[in-house]
């Protein structure tokens, strides 16, 4: 896990269109998952969590970060996988998806990886579990990394959370 495969030789400024793109990679449910790097604002250690009553299992609680109360999203639980264990050293990536700002818990943060867009392959045509939220599959020096469509994932989470949570809050 030492160095992040950061080889920012190409122009980091042109994000979406450039041949090389930056992804933020972390370990989840036993694999490497990544999403567009610009979505990540910060990597933090999860402080003490406040559990929300009647919240779905993929939202283990909320935590305060720089005066903001942010919901914590467990992607593992969202896709029907075992929960990501939350400890004092557990790291979370604070992501911005449209109007939503959530903390995604991880088993470990790898950091920035750079994968040329032309090398991205379409995800397997499964519609169950985590495959539902995959946008592509990439490869780098460390192996395969699954690219998540994070905005859709967050939207889905929100959508699933709301019917339960709309009555409250």
């Amino acid at each position: 896990m030492p160095e992040p495969r950061s080889e920012p030789r190409a122009d980091a400024a042109q994000q979406g269109t450039a041949p090389d793109a930056w992804f933020f990679s972390l370990r989840l449910i036993g694999g490497r998952y990544a999403f567009e790097a610009p979505l990540v604002t910060e990597v933090v250690r999860l402080g003490p969590l406040t559990r929300l009553p009647a919240a779905p299992s993929f939202l283990p609680g909320v935590f305060t970060h720089r005066g903001e109360v942010l919901p914590v999203l467990d992607i593992g639980q969202l896709v029907g996988q075992p929960a990501v264990p939350i400890r004092a050293s557990t790291r979370a990536a604070i992501v911005h998806c449209g109007p939503w700002k959530v903390a995604v818990v991880s088993e470990g943060v790898e950091g920035l990886v750079s994968i040329p867009r032309k090398n991205l392959e379409p995800p397997p045509s499964e519609s169950s579990g985590v495959a539902e939220f995959l946008s592509a599959v990439g490869r780098d020096g460390q192996g395969t990394v699954a690219i998540l469509d994070l905005p859709r994932l967050v939207e889905t989470a929100r959508a699933r959370a709301v019917p339960a949570g709309s009555g409250h809050a």
Partner: protein
């Protein structure tokens, strides 16, 4: 009677001188001649009375003749009586001899068929009768004595035989006793030797036990030292443990710092990425920082592993030292027990040694006593042998005596008393 003869002679003598007065040989001379013959015991001569017819010596001659006749008759009678008496005496002697030879003492002495009842024989017969009576009495007494002698000698024989057999039994018993005493002597000798051996062994054991006692003392000292050392080791381990804990805390701090550095570097990299080309160098530095932080974390992980190992080792050492302490105190306890036991053993051995010595002494005395007894027994045996020989002789003598008594009885039986 003599007087008459003398008178007669005188009377006949008177006519003789008348004859001398006659013719030839006078009458007196012839009478003297006849009387002279009478004087020398020849009473056969007679005077012719017719020649003296008418002479003064006629009556004398007749008287001479009558005297001679009378004397001759008297002599004849005396001779007859003498032969009768001597026949009676002979008969009496013969009867007595016969009686003595035949042993028949029954009845009184009778002169068989003898018509001699001479007064002269009466005292003889009476004396013989008395002798026979006395003889009879003697025989009877001898018979009784012989009977008694026979009985007594039989008793003596029986007693002597019994004496002999009991003496020989005594001799064999003494012999056996002597043999037994010899055995006893051997046995006591053996015992004395064994007791001496026991004493020697006890002595050896005693010195061995003393050495053991010294060894146990040394062992107990060592155990005490071990316990002392274990306590020191304990202290050292406790200090070491504290230090290690301290190192652990420090490592935790370092780890925390490294983690935070890592996080910082990560965020810096993110910031650099956001800054585009301008943040590129920044990103490189951030990546380098992350690597360093990760290196630190690797190292701290290694240190933590080492600390864990040290902790385990320390724990094991503590366990071992505790064990040492336990073992040492157990060893001390065992040592003191062993000490007590050895002391008991030593006391026991001492007693054994003393007892063995006493036994040795006692058996030696016993040996001496036994030897004396054996000596005495052999003397007794000698005496008994002599007594045995004597009693054998006594038995022989008694047997002979019995035989003699029987013979005497036989002999006495030949005399019939009743």
């Amino acid at each position: 009677m003599r007087d008459t003869t003398d008178q007669a002679k005188k009377a006949t003598k008177k006519p003789a001188p008348r004859k001398r007065n006659g013719a030839g040989p006078s009458d007196a001379e012839r009478i003297v001649e006849v009387l002279k013959a009478f004087a020398v015991g020849q009473y056969g001569g007679r005077l012719d009375v017719g020649a003296f017819e008418g002479g003064p010596l006629h009556d004398v001659a007749r008287a001479v003749n009558a005297t001679a006749d009378h004397v001759e008759a008297e002599i004849r009678e005396a001779r007859q009586r003498i032969s009768l008496v001597s026949a009676g005496v002979d008969e009496a002697i013969e009867a007595m001899v016969r009686l003595v030879i035949q042993g028949d003492l029954t009845g009184t002495l009778r002169l068989g068929g003898s018509t001699v009842h001479d007064q002269a024989l009466t005292p003889l017969i009476a004396g013989v009768g008395q002798v026979m009576e006395t003889l009879k009495k003697f025989v009877t007494e001898i018979r009784e004595a012989a009977l008694q002698l026979s009985t007594s000698s039989a008793e003596v024989l029986a007693a002597a035989t019994q004496n002999e057999s009991s003496t020989s039994a005594q001799a064999s018993a003494i012999h056996e006793t002597t043999a037994t005493m010899e055995e006893l002597k051997g046995a006591s000798h053996q015992i004395a030797e064994n007791a001496q051996m026991v004493a020697a062994i006890a002595e050896q054991t005693l010195s061995g036990g003393r050495q053991g006692e010294g060894a146990i003392k040394a062992f107990m000292l060592s155990m005490e030292k071990v316990r002392h050392n274990a306590v020191e080791v304990d202290d050292a381990i406790a200090k070491l443990s504290k230090r290690v804990e301290r190192i652990g805390t420090v490592v935790e701090v370092i780890d925390e710092i490294a983690d935070r550095s890592d996080l910082l570097a990560l965020n810096a990299a993110l910031e650099g990425a956001k800054a585009g080309e301008a943040g590129r160098g920044f990103s490189i530095v951030a990546a380098e920082m992350r690597r360093l932080a990760e290196n630190v974390m690797e190292s701290t992980k290694e240190i933590k592993n080492l600390i864990t190992e040290i902790r385990e080792a320390t724990h094991a050492a503590k366990e071992a030292s505790d064990g040492n302490k336990r073992e040492a105190s157990e060893g001390e306890k065992l040592g003191s027990n062993a000490m007590q036991n050895v002391s008991g053993i030593l006391a026991g051995i001492q007693e054994t040694s003393d007892a063995a010595r006493v036994i040795h002494l006692a058996t030696q005395q016993q040996r001496t006593a036994t030897e004396q007894v054996v000596q005495s027994m052999s003397e007794i045996e000698e005496v008994t042998r002599q007594a045995q020989a004597g009693s054998k002789q006594a038995t022989g003598a008694a047997a002979e005596l019995t035989k003699l008594a029987e013979r005497l009885a036989e002999l006495v039986k030949r005399f019939k008393v009743e």
